[in-house]
């Protein structure tokens, strides 16, 4: 299932808008010619590297052809504008045609080859281009290159006037257009086909992706903007020299790409600023400049092979975790009274082996019921049950680590189903809950199953909004209905829009009717979402299944028929039925969270079940 929200609804929207606005206004502050020159070069390298990334990172075709495309753009502009004498703007516009034609020619050998051979054939092809350029010195200037290429003008206004203001905005326009183009391609059907071929070639082919056609598209599309960049480079510097074929140019461009991080559109943009900035900063140091740049490249690929974009995401993730943790700490204090009113009892922080968790306990009653909430939620979802059942049972609910008002915990150790089950066990011991009945919702359902499967004391298990899984991942598409919102469940960074979508679709509530739950999605540690989802594969599903089918522990499922996630036909299979409920009990009209959507009907059904346990 593809998940592709429009750009203005993703996380990247604000930063990109901000950067674009800064770049748009920068010439007001940066008036000096040399600084602007550096920025123009940054844009050129960013265009070249990010388009190279379309084939190298997204397409998985590790190739060195893009220097050739760039050179074709450069020499195409030079020959058309100077030797043939057409209008410079027209010359700039026609260059991509030749680059794409070259790309299509190159696609023929590339289709037959793999791995290092693709690198070598593209190196050979660019060197072949170099030899042609060098040998045709009447048209190309040979080894000494061409100088005094025609400049770009609008009417009588030279783009180089006003300290290169025109070239600055033309380069920025080129970068913007190229980035928009790449963004659209990446999210199109062709872009998904490219990534599918890269990640699992034979599976993609078996699903009807044509390898030849997709690779041809990948190369052809990624040739367009490098040629523009080359043509622009020629028009801007007014020089076309065979240096663009050299190892030096290759090293700089490749380092922009790798330093930024492959398979990211934005990475090369960041790296271009770093590499070109560094290279211009050290321009006076001659050979030392190249040595320093090369050392930086080696340092980054050794220490951080993911590149700067991955590093940026790590920083952002750290920031996000600190923020959510602060929100939790703040709400622990300020929201305590409101939460106590909702739940009828105040919560307290309890130490477990996976960090502190916030627990609500009604303290009175012989039989305990533990409620476990789902992904990106909080214990207050169960407040109607606390209200209705508090006189008959001892009720306990808690916020999972990284959720609600519990503090964040270690992503590696504490954010997974097994750790959550151990937290339940710790609470049972600390609060002396005896043999509790456990109710698990959604992800909490798996936690409840895991708790029972690990042999912990339990006298009954009710699951809601969870599909039993026999083998992972085979049963996931059977047990769940693929929906774009499933993608959100395991996504680390949510944009505000995505948070709203997730809240609406899991709980089926609007912002104003359920403010606490709405806030819970905002507070949830993104790492908790990502880790819990990613580590589903480490769970012992067979053992969980034996809890359901073993018949030793009373088990039943309560679902909402409108639940958009789970496959009701799958859940109603006889193999998951027990003496207490042959098929899942359905709360009419409810969705993924019947205990909030129709609390009375749910509580009645729930009570009937646990009384039978």
């Amino acid at each position: 299932m593809k998940y592709a929200p429009p750009f203005q609804r993703t996380n990247g929207f604000l930063p990109v808008l901000l950067v674009f606005a800064v770049l748009l206004l920068l010439p007001v502050v940066v008036t000096e010619t040399y600084a602007r020159h550096t920025l123009i070069l940054v844009f050129v390298y960013a265009v070249l590297a990010s388009n190279w990334d379309l084939s190298l990172g997204y397409g998985g075709i590790v190739n060195f052809a893009h220097l050739g495309f760039f050179a074709i753009g450069l020499y195409g502009y030079a020959i058309f504008a100077k030797v043939i004498g057409v209008d410079p703007w027209l010359a700039l516009l026609v260059t991509p045609v030749f680059a794409v034609a070259f790309a299509v020619l190159l696609a023929i050998p590339i289709l037959r080859l793999e791995g290092i051979y693709v690198i070598l054939v593209t190196i050979a092809a660019t060197q072949l281009l170099l030899q042609i350029v060098v040998s045709q010195s009447t048209y190309t200037g040979g080894t000494s290159g061409m100088v005094l290429l025609p400049r770009l003008t609008i009417g009588d206004y030279k783009l180089s006037s006003d300290n290169r203001l025109g070239y600055y905005y033309l380069a920025l326009a080129l970068l913007t257009a190229s980035t928009f183009f790449l963004y659209k391609i990446e999210r199109s059907a062709t872009g998904r086909a490219m990534k599918a071929l890269r990640d699992n070639k034979y599976y993609a082919i078996s699903r009807g992706v044509s390898e030849a056609r997709t690779r041809l598209w990948t190369l052809g599309l990624s040739a367009i903007f490098p040629a523009f960049a080359g043509g622009f480079y020629g028009a801007y510097l007014r020089v076309a020299s065979p240096d663009v074929f050299g190892l030096g140019f290759l090293t700089i461009t490749l380092s922009v790409l790798l330093l930024g991080g492959i398979a990211t559109i934005w990475g090369p943009l960041i790296a271009a600023i770093v590499v070109v900035g560094l290279s211009q900063l050290l321009a006076d140091y001659g050979a030392w400049r190249n040595i320093v740049i090369a050392l930086v490249i080696i340092g980054v690929v050794v220490v951080y092979p993911g590149g700067l974009f991955a590093a940026l995401q790590e920083i952002w993730s750290g920031f996000d975790r600190a923020k959510t943790n602060l929100i939790a700490a703040y709400r622990r204090k300020t929201g305590a009274a409101a939460r106590a009113r909702a739940m009828g009892t105040s919560d307290q922080l309890l130490e477990t082996r996976h960090g502190k968790v916030s627990v609500c306990d009604t303290h009175s009653g012989a039989q305990a019921i533990i409620f476990i909430h789902g992904n990106s939620s909080c214990k207050e979802v169960f407040r109607h049950q606390f209200d209705a059942l508090r006189d008959q049972y001892r009720l306990v609910a808690f916020d999972l680590p990284g959720h609600g008002v519990s503090p964040n915990a270690d992503p590696e150790k504490d954010y997974n189903v097994a750790a959550y089950a151990q937290i339940v066990r710790d609470l049972v011991d600390r609060l002396k809950l005896g043999n509790p009945i456990i109710f698990g919702w959604s992800l909490g359902g798996y936690v409840a199953l895991e708790y029972a499967a690990a042999g912990n004391p339990i006298s009954g298990l009710v699951m809601c909004g969870t599909s039993p899984i026999r083998t992972y991942p085979d049963d996931m598409p059977k047990g769940y209905i693929p929906s774009p919102h499933m993608e959100l469940a395991g996504k680390r960074f949510h944009s505000p829009y995505e948070k709203g979508q997730y809240a609406t679709h899991t709980i089926g509530m609007q912002k104003h009717s359920e403010p606490v739950l709405w806030q819970a999605v905002w507070r949830t540690d993104g790492q908790a979402r990502e880790q819990a989802f990613a580590k589903l594969k480490t769970t012992d599903w067979q053992r969980q299944m034996s809890v359901i089918q073993g018949g030793k522990i009373p088990f039943a499922m309560i679902n909402g028929p409108k639940d958009p996630f789970i496959n009701h036909t799958y859940c109603a299979r006889p193999e998951f039925g027990t003496d207490y409920a042959q098929t899942p009990i359905l709360i009419n009209g409810a969705g993924h969270a019947p205990f909030v959507e129709d609390p009375d009907a749910f509580t009645k059904a729930f009570l009937k079940l646990i009384e039978a346990f």
């Binding site: 190298l56 080859l113 690198i119 380092s255 740049i293 690929v301």
Partner: protein, 295 residues
């Protein structure tokens, strides 16, 4: 064409072939053992030549040619050994190892090239050839030293082949190349063996560099050409056997010298690259090999 001209072109092609064989074998050994292409190989050739040149200069004591050769080879072996740990070992477990090694070796090439530029300056240098005499070979007048180069190059390759096939050390190297996991399970220190491989590759590159440096001028940027030629040779010949790139080296050398004569200096590299692309299209495993990589 006169017979002596033909002989002259043929002999210069064979001489080129011998040099290319020396360079390309180093590249091929690294490719088959470490599984990466070393883009710093050309700068190894260049640096080897510079070290030898320095040793023969009076500032450094003005040692003879032989001492220069031995010192240069030793230094380059050590450099190659060390560079393995800096350039390739850090990401040998990474799935993008081929690409990462490309960028790290390219960066190393940049460092070596610019360090040489800093240390020795941009001016061309030449190593004085130890033998200046010429001999008459089927009517063509050919430097005696050319024959020596050819002989030493072939002898070195033969010695390397014997080393890889007959000695315990060579056999462990081949074992590490053929099945890394099994070699490690047998207790071989694979990273060390890989480092030795890169060292041997750098040493043969140095020898080739000294020979090139005594035939032509050397400059900090002259590594690019040996690198490209080695790539062409390795692709053309394939790496199925130790000898595959050696045969291909002579094909390339002779093709180059004849095309330079008939097509001109500028078109001869174009022809070679076209040949390389054609071989990749028709027989990607190389002209002299099966589709597998072993030593």
């Amino acid at each position: 064409m006169a017979f002596d001209t033909f002989m002259f072109i043929l002999m210069s092609g064979i001489l080129l072939g011998g040099l290319y064989a020396l360079m390309a074998t180093g590249l091929a050994v690294v490719w088959t053992t470490l599984g990466v292409f070393n883009f710093a190989h050309g700068t190894f050739v260049m640096l080897g030549a510079y070290i030898a040149w320095q040793v023969t200069q009076s500032v450094a004591g003005g040692f003879g040619f032989m001492i220069a050769v031995v010192l240069s080879i030793l230094v380059m072996f050590c450099l190659g050994f060390v560079l393995h740990f800096a350039l390739i070992k850090p990401f040998e477990r990474n799935q993008n190892v081929v690409l990462l090694a490309v960028i790290s070796t390219l960066a190393a090439a940049s460092i070596i090239e610019n360090s040489v530029l800093l240390g020795w300056g941009p001016r061309d240098k030449q190593i004085a050839p130890p033998i200046g005499s010429k001999i008459d070979f089927f009517g063509a007048s050919i430097n005696t030293f050319d024959f020596v180069i050819l002989g030493v190059a072939l002898l070195t390759l033969f010695a390397l082949a014997v080393f890889l096939r007959r000695t315990t050390m060579g056999r462990t190297l081949r074992a590490a190349a053929q099945n890394r996991e099994a070699a490690e399970l047998m207790g071989l220190n694979v990273p060390k063996l890989f480092a030795i491989t890169l060292g041997i590759s750098a040493a043969t590159a140095a020898l080739a560099g000294i020979f090139v440096g005594s035939l032509r001028f050397i400059s900090p940027t002259f590594g690019a050409d040996p690198l490209m030629k080695s790539l062409i040779v390795v692709i053309l010949g394939g790496v199925a056997r130790f000898t595959s790139p050696i045969y291909a080296a002579f094909v390339v050398g002779i093709a180059e010298s004849f095309s330079a004569y008939f097509l001109g200096l500028y078109w001869s590299p174009a022809l070679l690259f076209a040949m390389m692309i054609a071989v990749l299209l028709i027989k990607p495993e190389g002209l002299f090999g099966h589709r597998s990589k072993t030593l």
